[in-house]
């Protein structure tokens, strides 16, 4: 297992390096002083000012040299400064990542748990009303744009609040500003805020996860060893939980890692729809403001997190399936 883990870790190093290169190059070709350039060049002596500005930002250097400098600063933990508010990109990321992680954790855990449950039941009760219904809704949610589903859930949440006579679900922010509540009140407020955005992501993820799990489960249920177990008189419940499910769960581990990037994409949109000040809003603001350093930092953070999640997935897979680590 140690050799397997070491091998996976070593493979991750060049991937991470590549992630830094892609994050840098994707944005470095954008001119961060485009607006100032137009204005300054229209002024007397503007060309010298532009040259000074370029020098101060290092834009007068070749691209690869700039990448080297950026990478050097990155290794020292410096991702640069936002041109919009003058704050360190690392501190902006440090604020935004925990906010987004709340959504990502909730969406991942719930979508996997429910996705597995729905997928297994659909496979076991193939072509029944339950299977057809879950299939219908799975495709329905899968086809829905995130922003639209978010808006629909907001509307439903508000209707529920009206019906209940009390505000249970919130449509903006991570928690109420200046919340003055006891421990349980604070938690109720936070859960009321996270419920709708998390549900948006869960439903999108759940659709794919349940279909994937159903397919994996059907494959396993049709394998020889399941037939043998049944022939030996092993009870159906035990066949499903002990023999089929354990093997059918393995692909879900890989699948969850692979869809992490998709989940981050969905989170970007969801955060905007629900006005969460996380990575999504940070990304959108940096794009709209042309804030190169923040966009690079964001791309790098997401790239690294995807690599790390997939590394964890590989390691977990190796832990769960001995065949993998002995290859």
């Amino acid at each position: 297992m140690l050799a397997y883990a070491t091998r996976k870790l070593l493979i991750s190093v060049p991937v991470l390096f590549l992630a830094t290169l892609v994050a840098f190059l994707l944005v470095a070709t954008v001119d961060p002083i485009a607006e100032q350039r137009v204005f300054l060049l229209s002024q007397p002596g503007g060309a010298e000012q532009v040259a000074r500005l370029e020098a101060s930002l290092g834009l007068d250097k070749p691209l690869l040299e700039r990448y080297g400098i950026w990478l050097g600063e990155l290794l020292r933990g410096d991702l640069g400064t936002s041109t919009e508010n003058g704050r360190a990109v690392t501190s902006l990321l440090a604020e935004a990542i925990p906010v987004t992680m709340r959504l990502v954790v909730a969406a991942t855990v719930f979508s996997v748990v429910f996705g597995v449950a729905v997928g297994v039941l659909s496979a076991v009760r193939k072509y029944t009303l339950f299977d057809n219904t879950t299939t219908f809704f799975a495709f329905l949610f899968f086809a829905m744009p995130v922003f639209w589903l978010g808006a629909v859930l907001k509307d439903l949440g508000i209707r529920f609040n009206d019906w209940w006579g009390r505000r249970i679900f919130f449509t903006i922010g991570e928690q109420s500003p200046r919340l003055d509540a006891d421990f349980w009140g604070t938690w109720a407020d936070r859960i009321g805020h996270i419920f709708l955005p998390a549900l948006t992501l869960i439903l999108i993820q759940l659709a794919a996860t349940s279909r994937f799990q159903r397919s994996a489960m059907l494959d396993v249920l049709e394998s020889d060893y399941i037939r043998t177990a049944r022939a030996k008189g092993v009870p159906q419940r035990k066949v499903i939980t002990r023999h089929a499910l354990r093997n059918a769960l393995l692909p879900i581990v890989s699948y969850t890692g692979l869809t992490f990037g998709t989940l981050i994409g969905g989170t970007v949109v969801t955060e905007v729809v629900f006005n969460w000040q996380g990575m999504g809003q940070l990304f959108l603001d940096s794009l709209l403001d042309g804030d190169v350093a923040v966009t690079q930092g964001w791309l790098l953070a997401v790239g690294v997190s995807v690599v790390l999640v997939n590394l964890c997935t590989d390691l977990l897979y190796g832990l769960l399936d001995p065949r993998v680590r002995y290859d």
Partner: protein, 569 residues
């Protein structure tokens, strides 16, 4: 077996609970943003400082009241007067915490605010005006609001190169300090600044802290003079104001005003409907207005403000006869009905290019001939000028087809619709119109010219649609827009009589006389047609019915102009 099943269920439940707890964990959003600035302003002044007037004691018998306002923008600098940070959101917040000499009421009239009275003319020529602050106006640390603050304002705004949002008036004035509460501004003989009443009316920051004008107020300094002080600011999320105990005036009647920054406008109606915000002031869109109108317990108002859209002619390429034919062929009422009635059925065609409807001096100067559409009269006007209809109905003269280019800011759906209506209506009168837009604000470089290298000449258009923004005192701005040779006169409009009237208005201190001259100029402009005014742009305010005393203010003061008067029932 049953035990195992229960155990599995318990594990699953625990896992789900942990997931929600983990999801709920993380930094407290109220402390999330760094720097989270909680004002260090004490609730009461320092012992050494004695406010001249004690704030009224809050009513102990009533429940605490709080209002949440959803804003699309976020404040970027607590000094809203810098050129880079002169955002509407900044104004909406800082006007509640910082002083202004006067303030503009929703009907465009002025009233003294931190000044004892409206600025007083000491001498007419050369013009000398006195600005006297209230004796009881103090900063929350006990320092009086004084001449030093006005000097700080003036010194940072008296040069066009200063980092100041509005230097007009200051840049041609000399300042004299009369006493600790009074300053005088004087202008050169024969060059009065007739809008002197508007000076010192931006919310100005305290001078005595010794901070830098441009960057010293990016964080709340904790010293205020208005009805409110900043109690908590979480950048990116929210900002909360609470009453300032050293405020000299009556009110405020609300214990907490929280501004929540909600950048996506589509979130606002949901938040209002769900009671997460109580007031919203979004850019009006028809579907948004309809959505809000359907909500119970919510009031909304549409106010037509000082920004007005028009069709400006390039007078060098569109001769007067054609301009008159266009004015006759346009159905302005139909355009207003199509574009503005979805917001409010009260919208009317604008009949003046200097004052807007709602101002006391507004007169509908539209001549009878242009008040209703008359296609036959338009065709007759063209034919009198030597144009003849071609086989396709489009007029020609000397082999030149009457084909005009109309431009506007591409991507603006309302203007593009406006443009299409103009195209259709003029087409029916035999005037061909081709649409020639550029994306966004790129249209203004060819229209107004640009200073780039090589410099671009102005006037690359025949017709152009955009908006001018009027104001309570429009004499100087009207001269810039319609005066011969002005940079802001892209259509190269020339009318000596109009020039004379506008020049006289721009040095007339009697506001009634000034308005009379301006209206005379507008009447003349209906003859020579530099443009055709069509409609004013709307503002949209929606709020919870539990709130009272809200009144939109379409001037720069915006809807928070009387925040201290708001009440919660």
């Amino acid at each position: 077996m049953q035990f195992k099943a229960r155990k599995r269920t318990a594990w699953l439940s625990t896992l789900l609970c942990l997931a929600f707890i983990a999801a709920g964990c993380g930094n407290d959003s109220s402390n999330r943003s760094s720097p989270t600035t909680t004002s260090d302003n004490p609730a009461t002044p320092q012992a050494t400082s004695t406010p001249t007037t004690a704030a009224p004691e809050p009513d102990q018998d009533r429940d605490p009241t709080a209002v949440v306002i959803g804003l699309e923008q976020e404040i970027t600098n607590f000094n809203n007067l810098t050129s880079g940070d002169n955002l509407l959101a900044g104004r909406q917040i800082t006007r509640a915490i910082y002083p202004t000499c006067t303030r503009t009421r929703p009907d465009f009239t002025f009233e003294p605010y931190f000044c004892e009275q409206l600025p007083t003319v000491i001498n007419e020529d050369p013009l000398v005006v006195e600005y006297k602050l209230r004796a009881d106006a103090t900063w929350s640390d006990g320092t009086p609001v004084s001449s030093d603050d006005l000097v700080f304002y003036y010194e940072n705004c008296n040069d066009a190169e200063d980092d100041c949002a509005a230097t007009a008036g200051f840049d041609s004035a000399e300042l004299e300090v009369v006493d600790s509460k009074t300053v005088r501004l004087s202008w050169a003989e024969g060059k009065p600044f007739v809008e002197y009443i508007t000076l010192f009316s931006g919310p100005f920051p305290p001078a005595h802290l010794g901070r830098d004008w441009s960057d010293g107020f990016r964080e709340d300094p904790g010293v205020v003079a208005g009805a409110f002080r900043v109690d908590e600011y979480n950048p990116g999320s929210d900002l909360t104001l609470v009453p300032n105990p050293t405020w000299f005036g009556e009110g405020p009647h609300i214990d907490e005003v929280t501004f929540r920054f909600i950048s996506d406008v589509s979130n606002l109606p949901f938040a209002l409907q769900n009671g997460e915000v109580d007031v919203i002031y979004p850019q009006p869109q028809v579907d948004l207005v309809d959505q809000i109108a359907a909500l119970d317990g919510v009031s909304s108002t549409v106010t037509f403000g000082p920004a007005w859209e028009h069709i400006t002619f390039n007078t060098t390429t569109v001769p007067l006869a054609v301009r008159r034919a266009i004015a006759l062929a346009l159905d302005r009422s139909f355009i207003v009905a199509a574009l503005m009635h979805p917001f409010s059925p009260n919208a009317q065609p604008l009949g003046n290019r200097i004052f807007v409807n709602g101002q006391p001096k507004y007169l509908d100067n539209t001549p009878t001939e242009f008040s209703t559409r008359d296609v036959d009269a338009a065709k007759a006007t063209l034919e009198e000028a030597g144009w003849a209809a071609g086989s396709d109905g489009i007029y020609n003269r000397d082999g030149n087809r009457l084909s005009l280019r109309i431009r506007t800011t591409g991507g603006n759906p309302r203007r593009e619709q406006f443009q299409q209506l103009v195209q259709n209506q003029l087409g029916e009168a035999g005037i061909e119109v081709t649409i020639d837009n550029l994306p966004g604000g790129e249209i203004f470089a060819p229209v107004f010219g640009n200073d780039n290298d090589p410099p671009g000449p102005p006037g690359d258009f025949d017709l152009v649609i955009f908006a001018w923004v009027g104001g309570p005192l429009p004499a100087s701005s009207s001269l810039q827009v319609f005066g011969t040779g002005s940079d802001s006169n892209p259509g190269a409009y020339v009318d000596d009589q109009v020039n004379d009237l506008l020049n006289r208005a721009s040095v007339t201190l009697d506001f009634d006389r000034q308005a009379d001259l301006l209206n005379q100029a507008d009447v003349l402009m209906w003859d020579t047609l530099p443009n055709v005014p069509v409609y004013q742009l709307p503002f949209f305010l929606a709020y919870n019915n539990a709130l009272s005393n809200l009144q939109d203010n379409p001037t720069l003061e915006s809807f928070t102009w009387n925040l201290e008067d708001w009440r919660v029932s």
